[in-house]
C-alpha cells in the first residue's frame, strides 16, 4: 500500500546518510572548509606571533603622521611635496605593524614583455622558484590531507598533481605577458586554454584525473576569498557608495536574470545566473562564487568568463574615451566605471586613464561591489535550494532538508568573512594583521587554487560540448542587454548620488 501524498505543508524528512562516516569527513565541501580554515589559522597565528615588540611606539608615530597629514590638508595651500612624504611615511609605518612570516614561502609569477623567463623573477630580480616550490608543497600537502581524508589514493593524486600544477604555472606565464595582462585577459582564460589544448588534442590521460578537481580547488579558494570580504570596508564611500554598489547591482542582477528566464527562455538557470552575476557584480570572481553556489556546469562557467573578459577589454578602452568626449565629472565617471566594468583590475586601469580622483573612486566603488559577492553567493545558494532545485509539486522544504542541500563550503566562506571583518575593525594592529595575512598568504594561494581549477576545467572539457551554449546567441544577448541596463541604471544612480543628493561628497572627493 502506498503512503498518502504529503500535504502542502509537509516537511520532507531528511535522508539518512548512506556512509557510516560523518559528512564533515567525507565531502569536498567540508574538506574545503577545513583546508581553508587551516591556511588562514596558520597564517594568522604566525603573523600575530611575529608582531614587532616596538608596535606601541610605531602606533604613536603613526598617529602623529596622520595628524600632520590632516593639518597639511586643512591648510589653504597645502604643500604637495610634504604631503607626499607624509603619505609615504604613513605607508611605511603601517607596513611595520604586522609582518607575515609565511609570505616568503609562497610566490606568484611576475610579468614579462619579451622574455618569458622574467616571469620567474621577483621585482627585485631574485628567483621566485623557491616560492613556487613552496606553493606546490603547500597545495600538495593540503589536498593530500583532503584526498586522504575522503578515502582516495594520495600517491595517485600527488603524481597527477605535479603535472596539473606545472600546467597552472604555464597558464600564469601566458597571463603574465604585459600586453595580455594590461588588457585584462586574466589567467582564467589561459588556464582553460592550456587544459583545452591537451584535452582536445592528445586527450587528458586517465592518470591525470585524480588531480583534476575543479570543485575542490574552487571551494577551497572561495573559503580563502571569504577572508578578503571585509564588511568594515562597506561604508568607505558612505551613502553614495552603498546606493551605487549595493542598490544598483542587485537590481541589475535580478532584472537580467528575470529577462534571461522569461524573455530569452534560457534553458539553464545556472548559466543565466552566472552570466547575470559576473556582468553585474565583479566578473570572474563573482562567476566563480555564484557558479559554485548554483552548481553551474564547468562549460557554463567557462562561457560566462569568456564573455565577461571579452566585454571587459572593450569597456575598459571605450568607456574612458566616451567619458573624456562628453567631459563627465571625474567623481561620477569613477563611480560609473566602478559600478559597470566587470573586472576589478580593468576598473582601476580605466579609472587611471582619467585621473587620480576617478581612479580612487572607481577602485573604491568596485571594492564595495566586491564585498557584495558574499551576500550574492549566499542568497543564490538559498534561492537554488528553495526554488530552482525544488520540485514544484513537492512539499515545502524543512530546515533539515535545506541544511542537507546547503553547500557547506559556503559556511567557511561566510565564517572567514565574519572573522576577518571583525579582526580588521579591531584597531590599527588588527587591520595590519589582516592585511598581512591576506596579502602574504591567502590571496596568493587563492589565485593558485582558482588557476588549478581552470586548468582542471580545460582538461575536462571537449570543445564540441561548448557548441550548444552558443546556439541562438542567447548568452551573448543576455550579457549585452544586461550590461546595457547596468550602464544606464548605474550612470543614473551615480549622477543622482554625486550630483543631486550628495554634491558635497563629490567636492570633497575631488580634493
Amino acid at each position: 500500500m502506498s503512503a498518502p501524498p504529503p500535504d502542502e505543508n509537509t516537511v520532507i524528512e531528511p535522508v539518512a546518510p548512506v556512509s557510516s562516516r560523518p559528512d564533515w569527513l567525507c565531502t569536498e565541501d567540508w574538506w574545503a572548509v577545513w583546508l581553508g580554515a587551516l591556511v588562514l589559522l596558520v597564517a594568522t597565528i604566525a603573523t600575530w606571533s611575529a608582531r614587532p615588540a616596538e608596535n606601541p611606539q610605531t602606533l604613536e608615530k603613526l598617529t602623529g603622521v596622520i595628524k600632520q597629514i590632516d593639518e597639511e590638508r586643512a591648510k589653504e595651500a597645502p604643500d604637495a611635496k610634504h604631503l607626499a612624504e607624509l603619505t609615504k611615511e604613513r605607508e611605511k609605518l603601517n607596513g611595520q605593524l604586522a609582518v607575515n612570516p609565511t609570505k616568503s614561502w609562497l610566490a606568484k609569477l611576475g610579468s614579462w614583455d619579451t622574455q618569458p623567463a622574467k616571469a620567474f623573477l621577483s621585482k627585485s630580480g631574485q628567483s621566485i622558484v623557491p616560492g613556487l616550490i613552496g606553493v606546490f608543497l603547500c597545495c600538495a600537502v593540503l589536498f593530500s590531507i583532503g584526498i586522504g581524508g575522503m578515502g582516495e589514493s594520495v600517491p595517485r593524486f600527488l603524481l597527477a598533481f605535479l603535472v596539473v600544477f606545472l600546467l597552472a604555472v604555464l597558464a600564469f606565464v601566458l597571463a603574465g605577458q604585459k600586453v595580455i595582462k594590461h588588457y585584462n585577459l586574466e589567467y582564467a582564460l589561459w588556464a582553460i586554454l592550456v587544459g583545452l589544448i591537451i584535452s582536445n588534442t592528445i586527450r587528458t590521460p586517465k592518470w591525470l584525473m585524480p588531480a583534476v578537481r575543479t570543485e575542490f580547488y574552487i571551494k577551497t579558494g572561495l573559503v580563502l576569498l571569504g577572508a578578503e570580504i571585509l564588511f568594515s570596508r562597506l561604508l568607505s564611500l558612505g551613502v553614495p557608495g552603498i546606493f551605487v554598489s549595493w542598490i544598483t547591482t542587485p537590481v541589475v542582477l535580478i532584472s537580467t536574470f528575470i529577462f534571461g528566464q522569461r524573455i530569452l527562455k534560457i534553458s539553464s538557470p545556472s548559466l543565466n545566473m552566472v552570466i547575470s552575476a559576473d556582468m553585474s557584480v565583479c566578473g570572474v570572481s563573482a562567476a566563480i562564487a555564484t557558479g559554485a553556489a548554483c552548481k553551474a556546469k564547468r562549460e557554463e562557467l567557462s562561457l560566462a568568463i569568456a564573455l565577461s573578459l571579452g566585454f571587459t577589454v572593450i569597456m575598459m578602452v571605450l568607456m574612458p574615451a566616451f567619458i573624456r568626449a562628453v567631459g563627465m565629472n571625474e567623481v561620477i565617471a569613477g563611480a560609473w566605471l566602478g559600478g559597470t566594468i566587470d573586472s576589478t583590475g580593468a576598473v582601476a586601469a580605466a579609472g587611471g586613464m582619467l585621473g587620480e580622483t576617478a581612479l580612487t573612486v572607481a577602485a573604491t566603488v568596485k571594492m564595495i561591489q566586491n564585498i557584495l559577492i558574499g551576500v550574492v553567493a549566499f542568497c543564490v545558494s538559498i534561492y537554488w535550494i528553495g526554488w530552482v532545485e525544488r520540485d514544484a509539486s513537492a512539499p515545502r522544504l524543512g530546515i533539515v532538508e535545506i541544511w542537507r542541500r546547503f553547500p557547506k563550503f559556503m559556511l567557511g566562506f561566510l565564517a572567514a568573512s565574519f572573522v576577518f571583518s571583525v579582526m580588521a575593525s579591531s584597531g590599527p594592529e588588527g587591520e595590519a594583521t589582516t592585511s598581512a595575512v591576506l596579502h602574504g598568504t591567502s590571496q596568493t594561494l587563492r589565485g593558485w587554487l582558482f588557476c588549478l581549477a581552470f586548468v582542471s576545467i580545460g582538461l575536462e572539457t571537449n570543445i564540441r560540448e561548448l557548441a550548444p551554449y552558443f546556439h541562438g546567441g542567447k548568452a551573448l544577448t543576455l550579457y549585452v542587454v544586461g550590461q546595457t541596463l547596468n550602464l544606464i541604471v548605474s550612470l543614473f544612480m551615480c549622477w543622482l548620488m554625486f550630483e543631486k543628493v550628495f554634491p558635497h561628497a563629490a567636492d570633497a572627493l575631488r580634493n
Binding site: A175, V239, S343, A348, E356
Partner: protein, 104 residues
C-alpha cells in the same frame, strides 16, 4: 573498453598538440612583444605600473595601490566627517579649495 587509437589517429592528435603549441608560442613570443612595443600600448603599461594598477586583478585585495586609495578616502572622511552621510553643506567652507594631488 574503448578501442586503442590507431597510429594515424595518434599521429593526428600529437600533430594537433604540436600545432596548437606552435600557434600559442608564435603569438606570445612574436606577436605580443611587437604589440607591446607600440608607443600607445607601452605608454598605457607604464602609466598603469606607475599608478600601482594591476589590470589583471580579480579582487580589490590584488590591486597594489588599493591601500593608498583607501587611505585617501579615509583622509577625506576625517577632513569632512559628515559629507558622505548628510545632505547638508559641510561646516568647512573650504571644500571647493583646489588642493594638490598627492601622487599615488
Amino acid at each position: 573498453m574503448p578501442p586503442m587509437p590507431s597510429a594515424t589517429d595518434s599521429l593526428r592528435r600529437w600533430g594537433g598538440l604540436a600545432a596548437s603549441v606552435s600557434i600559442v608560442a608564435g603569438i606570445w613570443l612574436l606577436v605580443l612583444p611587437v604589440i607591446g612595443a607600440q608607443p600607445q600600448v607601452r605608454t598605457m603599461i607604464e602609466n598603469n605600473e606607475q599608478l600601482g594598477i594591476d589590470p589583471s586583478a580579480k579582487f580589490y585585495t590584488e590591486l597594489p595601490g588599493m591601500e593608498r586609495f583607501l587611505q585617501r578616502i579615509d583622509d577625506t572622511h576625517r577632513q569632512h566627517p559628515n559629507v558622505m552621510w548628510s545632505r547638508s553643506a559641510p561646516e568647512q567652507a573650504s571644500i571647493p579649495k583646489p588642493a594638490p594631488h598627492v601622487p599615488l
